[in-house]
């Protein structure tokens, strides 16, 4: 791998400092995205080093912090699914995590990774949007609806590390993912919906995970049919190797109807 350097920080503070001062450095958590890309030589810009965050205790764990649930950026999906706090307060997140890959991927995938990659198809991302989660970094807290700024582009600064994701408790969110097969599938449409407050968050239908604002406005007024009609205009799906724009549009509406 043309000798990409491996750096293992001793602590979060060490990681933050190293990330700031090392050129061409890419953070590595479970590796479910980065390692495949490194092998295929598709990482751009080409990295000089990886910073291994996987074993940092400060980035693991699920804990109650007052009226929020906080999940470490490098906690695995398996850990998230198994957490009592998640099961009790963030059921949709557990549901979404269960649809990711299969056992092997769930044991290594992380919210930090999902967020940093900012793939429009990221399975947990609509759930984070529907919960109004907050991305906690080494220097600030970024509300999720300000986090995705473009195709695979986040609001993170060049040397900023995600440390945790914080969720308010007390919100009911429904979730559904449509993929090509029952496991190990990138989504064609992935949706998370909350009635109160009205949140309709959808993945794979735009260049970013999307909040369907017009549909939310209708839902907020109690107009379910209006929301279903409006969502078709909120999204901007494309034809790609997995599916078609027309299909994504139809299914988005059908799924929204089902979840409401």
């Amino acid at each position: 791998m043309h000798e990409v350097k491996y750096i293992r920080p001793k602590s979060l503070a060490d990681a933050v400092q190293t990330y700031r001062t090392t050129p061409g450095c890419r953070p590595l958590a479970g590796g479910t995205d980065l390692m495949a890309m490194l092998h295929a030589r598709t990482v751009r810009p080409q990295p000089l080093a990886v910073l291994d965050l996987w074993s940092l205790a400060e980035l693991k764990g699920v804990r109650r912090v007052r009226d929020t649930v906080e999940i470490g950026a490098a906690e695995s999906y398996t850990g998230i699914i198994g957490s009592k706090d998640v099961q009790q307060h963030l059921a949709a997140l557990a549901a979404a995590a269960r649809t990711i890959g299969a056992a092997q991927i769930q044991n290594r995938g992380t919210l930090g990774g999902n967020l940093a990659n900012a793939s429009p198809a990221g399975d947990t991302l609509p759930v984070l949007l529907a919960y109004d989660a907050v991305v906690v970094t080494d220097r600030r807290a970024i509300p999720i609806d300000k986090f995705f700024v473009g195709y695979r582009k986040t609001a993170l600064q060049a040397d900023e590390l995600i440390t945790a994701v914080r969720f308010p408790i007390g919100r009911q969110v429904a979730f559904r993912k449509v993929g090509t097969r029952a496991a190990q599938a990138i989504s064609k449409v992935v949706m998370a919906v909350s009635r109160d407050p009205a949140r309709i968050a959808i993945g794979s239908v735009a260049e970013v995970p999307l909040r369907a604002r017009r549909a939310e406005a209708a839902l907020d007024r109690g107009d379910v049919e209006g929301a279903i009609a409006a969502v078709a205009d909120d999204i901007r799906p494309i034809d790609d190797v997995r599916s078609t724009a027309a299909y994504r549009r139809s299914v988005t509406q059908n799924i929204l109807r089902e979840l409401l």
């Binding site: 449509v178 997995r242 139809s250």
Partner: protein, 707 residues
């Protein structure tokens, strides 16, 4: 007369099972060869045109690598197969006919150097207008015409005859053996090149090596390593991998490992022939079949490979397992500027049977009768004649398998979710065992059999184990014929310098044709041992029975020695909000003649059925500029354990007199039934007919919406 079975019919442990469950089994990439360099193939990025120039940038030190071009080919620049149209490497100034066409080969001591060298090669092309669409393809690889009875136009009495017409489309499919293609080439003394590879047919590779590298029979040595799946994808393609590796080894003077990664394997290797099949069928109101007029067009891709044989099988099975007095089948295979298509389990029959079976459904619907009843009325029975005029004289399990499947099918429980509809579909298929017509006669497959001085026995065969159980059943057949324990029988390695050519491991022939030779050889050696002492060795070659008559020019007669039969019932759940189709249960009854090893026979059936389920539902390849868009495992999807239906297999034994203990070949048959049964099930659930597979959710949803 052979001895009574002792192990045959019992599911004895797989011969190489312990190695496979402990990680001891050595597949090609597991084998270390000291001093080996890594090889890589540089391929065309255009679909049609010519190579204008190949430039090796001087900024790279080319002494670090070995480069092989077409100029380095000592023999013929031809991939030896049926027609000499496919070059081993496209020469400079030469024609390019498809994306991914091999142009040059590189070898280096490590992968990073290979990568660096690759980025310093620039190939310039003069592009030409490519042909991608079937209906624009004018180059014909081969044609087949089968006629029985009166050709359709001549039929005068059309009164009272209902004519049903329909067109069906089938898509590309990747074999997706979990072990990618690979070969190691080792140059040895005296100009010998030894190939160790993942392959089904050592002698195909042997012939290809001799041709391209100008080697003698002894100088070309091909050894099959443990192979992680083939399904036809490693029938002819490995010849290319092996010749490429050999050319590099020859030039480098050292061993070369040419192992494909999954991306290259998906992008560049052969796929199932896609195509269009048109049916025009005449039936009387009472359901009597009057005529079948069938047209088949298959896409062979850019080079011929095995296309004429695939077309042949497609045509011969095209009328379905039915008795019809007037049949006309016109089939052609055409060239497009896409990567060449090749062998994949079923080999043309799944494509044409898909259409044939759905026609039964459409006709039944038109007449307002049950398609099961229509099949009973039409199905071939003992004594009936097929479309090629073959009289079926034995082992016709058509009715048996249908009865067995219907009996075993679980009760349909209504859907418990308002948005999910449930449906059931059935299909009846047959599949010729062994090579078509005079194929086996021409092959004259030969095995060797030895009685060793220590009292044990050895089978010498080029037939390969690729998971289907060759090694186990051959030992069972030999042991039972000899009347000895299984541990007294072994197999020589599948190494062309050690074993004769028993023919390729394809065409559902290994158990029935080659297994029979093993049985006969063992019986003969047992007799010989009564008069002579070990060591003894003999060879046994296939002799075509006098009763098999096939006319290659008129395409009439006994197309296959015998047919195997299957009836499949598929249950599906269709989610009406997303169009997703879940196959929940599959029941299949198979007439296999005799199950030499019941667990392995079921294993073949279950595996083949799931491949067909994938082909019918989620295995889709989209094309872009003549290349496959689905070129990673993240985008070419096969069923996982969570997608797979519960599969229930019923083995029906209806012996074939010339098969060992009555066994018929069933390796490919399981691929034929599920796809049409699933489409029929989707119709049962939703009321919509799809004419094309894969039946993706996009197509299902659109079809339901437009209803």
């Amino acid at each position: 007369m052979c001895a009574a079975p002792l192990t045959v019919g019992r599911s004895v442990p797989r011969r190489e099972g312990a190695d496979k469950v402990t990680g001891r089994a050595r597949y090609t990439d597991d084998i270390t060869v000291p001093g080996a360099w890594y090889g890589r193939t540089i391929r065309s990025t255009i679909a049609r045109g010519a190579i204008r120039s190949i430039t090796q940038d001087t900024a790279f030190d080319w002494a670090r690598v070995v480069v092989v071009t077409a100029d380095d080919i000592p023999g013929d620049n031809v991939v030896q197969l049926i027609r000499d149209d496919q070059p081993v490497l496209a020469p400079k100034g030469g024609e390019i006919r498809h994306r991914e066409e091999p142009i040059l080969l590189l070898a280096a001591a490590d992968r990073d150097t290979l990568e660096e060298a690759t980025s310093h090669i620039r190939i310039e092309y003069d592009t030409a207008e490519p042909v991608f669409a079937l209906d624009q393809a004018t180059d014909v690889f081969s044609t087949v015409e089968i006629t029985k009875g009166e050709v359709v136009e001549g039929l005068k009495d059309l009164e009272g005859v209902e004519v049903v017409e329909r067109t069906f489309r089938v898509g590309l499919q990747e074999q997706l053996y979990i072990e990618p293609q690979g070969a190691i080439a080792i140059p040895e003394a005296g100009g010998t090149i030894r190939i160790i590879g993942s392959l089904q047919c050592p002698y195909y590779v042997h012939r290809a090596l001799k041709r391209a590298l100008k080697l003698t029979d002894q100088q070309a040595v091909v050894v099959q390593a443990e192979t992680g799946g083939g399904f036809g994808g490693k029938e002819e393609y490995p010849s290319i991998v092996a010749v490429h590796a050999a050319l590099l080894a020859r030039k480098a003077g050292r061993p070369i490992r040419l192992i494909y990664d999954r991306h290259e394997d998906l992008a560049a290797t052969t796929k199932r022939h896609p195509g269009v099949i048109r049916h025009r069928t005449g039936v009387k109101k009472d359901g009597t079949l009057v005529f079948q007029d069938i047209e088949i067009v298959l896409d062979g891709g850019a080079y011929c490979t095995l296309t004429p044989v695939v077309l042949s099988r497609a045509a011969i099975h095209a009328a379905g397992p039915y008795s019809c007095p007037n049949v006309r089948i016109r089939a052609r295979a055409v060239a497009t500027n896409t990567p060449p298509n090749g062998a994949f389990r079923g080999f043309g029959a799944p494509q044409s049977l898909f259409a044939a079976e759905l026609m039964v459904e459409h006709i039944a619907e038109r007449l307002g009768v049950s398609s099961v009843d229509l099949r009973r009325k039409w199905m071939l029975h003992l004594g009936d004649t097929t479309a090629t005029g073959q009289k079926l004289t034995e082992s016709v399990g058509s009715e048996m398998v249908m009865d067995a499947a219907l009996k075993a099918a679980p009760t349909v429980r209504p859907s418990d979710r308002p948005t999910v509809r449930r449906g059931r579909g059935l299909s009846l298929v047959f599949h010729g065992s062994g090579f078509t017509g005079s194929g086996e006669k021409k092959l004259q497959g030969t095995i060797g059999f030895e009685a060793l001085a220590d009292g044990t026995f050895r089978i010498l065969t080029a037939s390969t184990e690729i998971g289907q159980g060759t090694k186990t059943i051959f030992c069972q057949l030999a042991a039972d014929a000899l009347g000895v324990g299984l541990d007294m029988v072994a197999l020589a390695p599948q190494d062309t310098s050690l074993v004769p050519d028993s023919g390729p491991t394809v065409a559902s022939r290994t158990a029935m044709i080659v297994g029979r030779l093993v049985q006969e050889a063992a019986t003969e050696i047992k007799e010989k041992l009564k008069r002579e002492k070990a060591p003894l060795r003999l060879e046994k070659s296939y002799i075509q029975p006098d009763a098999i008559h096939w006319d290659e020019t008129t395409y009439r007669g006994d197309a296959y020695p015998v047919y195997a039969w299957a009836c499949t019932i598929a249950d599906v759940d269709v989610d009406m909000t997303t169009g997703e189709v879940r196959v929940t249960d599959l029941v299949t009854a198979v007439d296999c003649g005799k199950a030499l090893h019941p667990v392995m026979a079921e294993g073949q059936i279950e595996g083949g059925c799931l491949q067909a389920v994938g082909w019918a539902t989620i295995e889709e390849i989209k094309m872009k500029d003549g290349g496959y868009q689905n070129d990673r495992l993240a985008t070419y999807l096969i069923p996982t354990a969570l997608d797979a239906p519960r599969i229930r297999t019923i083995l029906v034994e209806n012996p074939y007199s010339r098969g060992p203990f009555g066994a018929k070949g069933i390796g490919e048959l399981p691929m034929d039934g599920p796809a049409p049964a699933i489409i029929a099930a989707i119709h049962d659930a939703t009321g919509v007919w799809l004419d094309e597979i894969p039946a993706t959710p996009e197509k299902v949803l659109a079809a339901c919406a437009s209803r």
